[in-house]
Symmetry: C2
Subunit: 777 residues, 2 copies
């Protein structure tokens, strides 16, 4: 990978590779993925290779294949363009390549690939491929291929159309659909998901220029099973440039804007649109998308890192780029997948990742999107109630993996191989990783406290918080001997410990949820009688309050032992301690499981990821500095960071605890998760949470920004190599511009709609009217 | 392609290629396909390439995906072996290859691929890949890969296991299934078809030797979605040879021998078998398969062509090899697919191809298999009755495309593109190509007359013939004006004419079916009262006979016009005649449809294939020599032979009519259909009927062998370049050895179980006791 290709306007905006290696196709397919929150398009190359994964995923279009769990179906491929030179199929595996470069421009969302290639007696041929997914028109994909034979005249054949033979790693989610060509030019292909009955309509059209003159090559339409394409044949003289523009679009019957349209109307609309769009040409369409990136994103959300190391500026832009691409902010019936829309990993499902790792970015950077993500949780309450009921509980239990609104739990049941028994391991998270319910409550509370969005609370927030408290009180188990309420048989955030009792994170956040609900109950009953009555009727609050109150004070909260260590669960501290050096590295994630199975991991003091540390971050007021420090020293060495959700938490905590260098080191590792040199770990898609985590390292970690009980706290501590950090921060409806150096914290309220903002710096409460500067030294 | 690689024992037994070209993968995948009638395995290479089609099809395991028609599902791939050399994935697209050869040994069923390859600084490496599908044990597949680094020590990584991510051109027929490893060695993968609920259990095991010493490389099991495999790592010193043996098997719950076994028992049985088999090793298992080829096939069915051109001997062996591989003779619930088991083309469906083009081979060469194929038709009568009923007719109407027993009609509805309108063309054959019903009757009658198998007639044959006659009488349409029964709106054998009235082939064979049924009715009523009563009760014969008799003499049979031309249908002769030269060539099959659509083809005197010529062949006694000659002259120039079912008929007719040279030319073209140099036309699988057609050219054509009204007729006329033709011929339960030169016809009855055989030569009836020699000159 190459990070410094950008210069001038594009300095620290370009991610690139300058070697093609077919062993590592997944890396750039994922990290150079294009999209706009509506659709995600993996950057598989125009020509096909063994080992590639061609994915186009449309947010929210979940379908179940057979008895598997629901997933985002891989729509028909629009991007394949097969090029034959003098009868040979063009492939970078053959012949010689030089001046190779593939780059993603994060600023304008355009992907470019160029090189000079030769094979046999073809002489040098210059290729350039460009591609974008429009941020201006969510349905639009543009491609532009230029071919210049430098030394010899060539016969060129192009195959280009729509290929519905793709699947999700073998699972086929679509009926075959209709194939049609209009005006001997526009190709239309329709598909319908087999179980959820969503219509997809895809259109594409190819046009050709030689030396900027439109040409009409010999063409022949071919319809195959699930496939429709044109064969075009032409000759190009040396030094001439052939340009192929392929403009495509995709619509589905699940699109909000298409609600009420019949299948035939959907076909008409999309065909009309492709006709209108394609005549305007690649350049125009691409520049409109670039303008949208500038106006909607970068002019509003840019974070500036003035560092000795340019990579860090690139890394936050990379994270922000993907947070836009992955997030269906246009439709509150959809949420973010653990791999965004960049790959089939985790099937497009939403996890606690959203509330704990991505939501903070949107709360502080683009609160409207944050609200939409939480409204999604509100809209899935029916599924959460179903899950609770099926498990014999009350209230709402959010699913560990969440998909379409009414789906409920969609975690698959079987995972990878147990190296000892030869069987597939059972995936327990869907059954017992129950802390997600508190995490959604936390996200709700976090959003509310940072935005003051009372309307959201009234329509969605209180209901989520109350009904989750009701779940927790029903989930608590009375221990007669100890006279306490326990929560046994769970998985906490650390997924290398299954079936544990009293996971600290789970118990603390459950009690916190009960406390929160009780506070809001009292508050609403006293001050918001109409709303209270409505919610009381719907959620049976009076009766449930009695239950909450009867249990809340007897919830068992694991306390620090004589060494100040909080047991992660009832038995963690009693387990064997082994030398983990071999496994504690980021270049060989998951290597522990080449030697141990889950059963054995359960018997060792080894953690996949941050567990108690997340608790410290979310509810920092509950624990003393000494306890935090002692636990950090104890757990950090035992944490393999085998989850991409781990590093940002440890980075932030390390900075809190004064371990600046380690904090910086963890930040750099967090930046590397997708962007870095590991060429295999992003194969199944980018790590959505880790990209939110990069923002958390910078803003929560080095920036020291935190919401503490409804107050904004800012305790910055920049890495030594940083001169300045500038970032936008939305708070209570105002947009603050924050600027931090090693000497100074400067805050400017650019909106100032509200009353004075109270914020806390190093324990001191401050007031901000228009701007404030605080000396840090 | 190369045809003369075989020498000594293997002279004219080896089909080979000596260039690897990734544009033409389908050619050798299909024509070098391995199998045994139970399973067919396309010969995709161990390493994967873009453009390949990896298929393993198990006869009779039909499944419907979504609302598509049923097809043979592509089972999980057992053959993939990915080889990494010093970390690079081995591919013939990279580096340099020399001494390349891939060959199929038709005698022993073994596929071999060998070459010397080098890339980067690896030095020369010698590779050899061998593979067979056992004819001795229908479930067994063996592979053997040997790698010899000649100049450098190498690090080798092998990925090998079972991959269920394959599909049928995108359609997925299987649930994901179970993955399991036993004894840290045996990999088991199960799949279940989604609609027909057939369990598939696949097992595989890899073993390793270096210089003939068993080695145990570092290994790690990987389970992915629909995929389970081992990664093996080892180092090899230069000049050492690494040998990998991969022994696999596949069982399904549809296997006759597994009837009554539970899923768990199927898993146990197949695992037990793979354990027993794999210890015996590739060499032993392969030689047992080779022995089965010798004992079951070649020692019994060999045809010897002593010709100036060795290609012809190879061609008949190639045809016979594939007729064995494609034919599920082990199970009468199954029949032959139009592409055998060699590809996804025509979905494994059975057409009239069986009775008219492949059945004759089996009737005369392996009558037990012929019987099984006809029993299949008997077992599908329920579906044929359903189809008749659905169409408003009586009796049994055999489906144009036939799959599992009760399926009925399974022809798909939409085909390739109409180049004029841009829409997919509707496939009408399933609705109106109704002559298949007569074709099945013809096959039944042919088998009976050639074998005297009365038991088959009693249990199956009469019922087929009677109930099809009942269909025809109900299908006839009364023309009040002309006072005749017509058959309108059909497709005859010539599929370039849709919705025609009174196709001669259809009308003549329908009337023939009625006559035949009436004769058998009278015969049984008179001589076989018990059987008659049983059939009468079941098929309502008395009432139906009255209907047959009331219509049979008024069936309209198109008569020769003043030029002796029989109109193929009511309007053919009135249509435009155009210059067809451009389209009448075998190198560009179907090129007519690049310029015309079906609607236009309907208005031109152009034929896809033999139509009236087939009628002449089946019912030659109905037409005079002059009529045959005149029609030949008229229709041959208008017949594009765009169907692979066409050439053998025209070849045989040409020989009958004295056009020896043209006959030979057509024979050579027929041999070339799959075996020849066209590298694209076999992509979707071999052309089953054309391989039966090669036998027909030789035996019916040059050998002049025909069944005429229950008598054996032999009128040989060898091509000039042939010295001698020797062939086995089963007749009325005896095995005759026929030997033909330009001077002599010699017949030896090797069995002589029966009374004298009467046969006809040039119109003279002869008698054969032990042997007879007839001078031809």
């Amino acid at each position: 990978m190459k990070y410094d290709l950008g210069s001038g306007e594009y300095k620290n905006w370009i991610v690139s590779e300058n070697d093609f290696d077919s062993l590592y196709l997944g890396k750039c397919e994922s990290i150079m993925c294009l999209g706009n929150g509506y659709l995600g398009l993996r950057s598989a190359t125009e020509e096909k290779y063994v080992g590639e994964t061609r994915d186009m995923l449309i947010a929210g279009t979940f379908n179940k294949f057979d008895d598997e769990v629901t997933e985002l179906p891989n729509a028909a491929d629009l991007t394949e363009i097969t090029i034959f030179i003098n009868g040979d199929r063009f492939s970078l595996l053959q012949g010689n390549v030089r001046d190779y470069s593939r780059s993603l421009n994060l600023k304008n969302g355009e992907l470019t690939r160029s090189f000079i290639w030769t094979n046999k007696d073809f002489g040098d041929i210059k290729f350039e491929f460009k591609r974008f997914v429009s941020l201006n028109d969510l349905h639009l994909i543009g491609q532009r291929v230029s071919i210049t034979p430098i030394e010899k005249n060539l016969d060129i054949k192009i195959q280009s159309g729509i290929n519905g033979q793709v699947s999700n790693t073998g699972a086929q989610h679509f009926s075959e659909g209709e194939k049609r060509v209009y005006d001997a030019k526009y190709i239309q292909y329709t598909q319908k998901t087999t179980e959820s009955n969503i219509d997809f309509v895809l259109n594409t059209v190819n046009s050709f220029e030689i030396n900027s003159e439109t040409v009409k090559p010999n063409s022949l339409i071919v319809m195959d099973r699930r496939k429709v394409y044109y064969n075009y044949e032409m000759s190009i003289e040396k030094s001439s440039t052939l340009v192929i523009e392929k403009i495509s679009n995709v619509f589905t019957s699940r699109d909000k804007e298409c609600e009420g349209l019949s299948y035939e109307e959907l076909k008409e609309l999309s065909l009309k649109r492709i006709k209108e769009e394609s005549v305007r040409g690649y350049e125009t369409l691409q520049s409109e998308s670039a303008k949208a990136w500038e106006e909607k994103i970068w002019s509003k959300c840019s974070i500036t890192i003035n560092s000795q190391n340019d990579y860090e500026q690139l890394a936050i832009r990379f994270a922000q780029y993907h947070l836009v691409v992955m997030t269906p902010g246009h439709d509150n019936r959809m949420n973010i997948g653990a791999k965004g829309l960049s790959g089939e990993g985790y099937k497009g499902h939403t996890f606690w990742d959203t509330e704990i790792f991505m939501l903070p970015y949107f709360i502080y950077t683009d609160p409207k999107v944050a609200k939409s993500l939480l409204e999604y949780r509100y809209l899935t309450l029916a599924g959460a109630r179903k899950k609770a009921k099926e498990n014999g509980y009350e209230g709402s239990q959010f699913p560990w993996e969440s998909a379409w609104l009414e789906d409920g739990e969609v975690t698959p049941i079987w995972g990878s191989a147990d190296v000892i028994t030869g069987k597939a391991e059972k995936i327990w998270t869907g059954f017992i990783e129950i802390h997600v319910t508190s995490d959604v409550v936390y996200g709700t509370w976090h959003y509310y406290n940072a935005t003051n969005d009372q309307e959201f609370m009234d329509t969605c927030g209180y209901e989520i918080i109350f009904d989750c408290a009701t779940f927790w009180q029903s989930r608590l188990e009375w221990n007669e001997e100890k006279q306490i309420f326990e929560i046994t048989g769970v998985i906490g955030p650390d997924e290398y410990k299954e079936h544990v009792d009293n996971n600290a994170f789970t118990n603390y956040t459950a009690k916190w949820n009960l406390d929160l609900a009780m506070n809001y109950y009292n508050e609403l009953k006293e001050n918001r009688r109409d709303l209270f009555d409505k919610l009381n009727e719907k959620l049976n609050l009076d009766e449930n309050f009695t239950k909450w109150a009867s249990k809340v004070d007897k919830v068992y909260l694991p306390k620090p032992n004589e060494d100040n260590i909080i047991p992660q669960d009832d038995t963690y501290l009693t387990k064997e301690i082994i030398d983990l050096t071999k496994y504690k590295n980021q270049t060989n994630i998951g290597s522990f499981f080449k030697d141990y199975n889950m059963h054995q991991a359960n018997e060792i003091q080894v953690s996949k990821q941050a567990d108690i540390m997340v608790l410290f971050l979310l509810l920092e007021g509950l624990f003393s500095e000494e306890v935090k420090k002692a636990n950090w020293e104890y757990y950090e060495p035992k944490t393999l960071h085998d989850s991409s959700l781990s590093l940002s938490t440890h980075c932030t905590l390390a900075n809190d605890l004064g371990h600046s260098e380690l904090s910086y080191e963890l930040f750099r590792k967090a930046c590397d998760i997708d962007l870095g040199p590991n060429m295999k770990t992003s194969d199944a898609g980018i790590h959505s949470a880790s990209l939110g985590g990069v923002w958390q390292c910078i803003v929560n970690g080095f920036g020291g920004v935190r919401m503490i009980d409804g107050n904004l706290r800012i305790n910055p501590c920049l890495p030594k190599t940083w001169n300045k950090l500038e970032l936008p921060l939305h708070w209570h409806g105002d947009l603050l511009n924050i600027s931090i150096t090693s000497e100074e914290l400067n805050i400017v309220n650019t909106t100032n709609n509200n009353e004075e903002i109270r914020f806390i710096h190093k324990g001191n409460e401050c007031k901000l009217t228009n701007s404030i500067t605080i000396k840090l030294a």
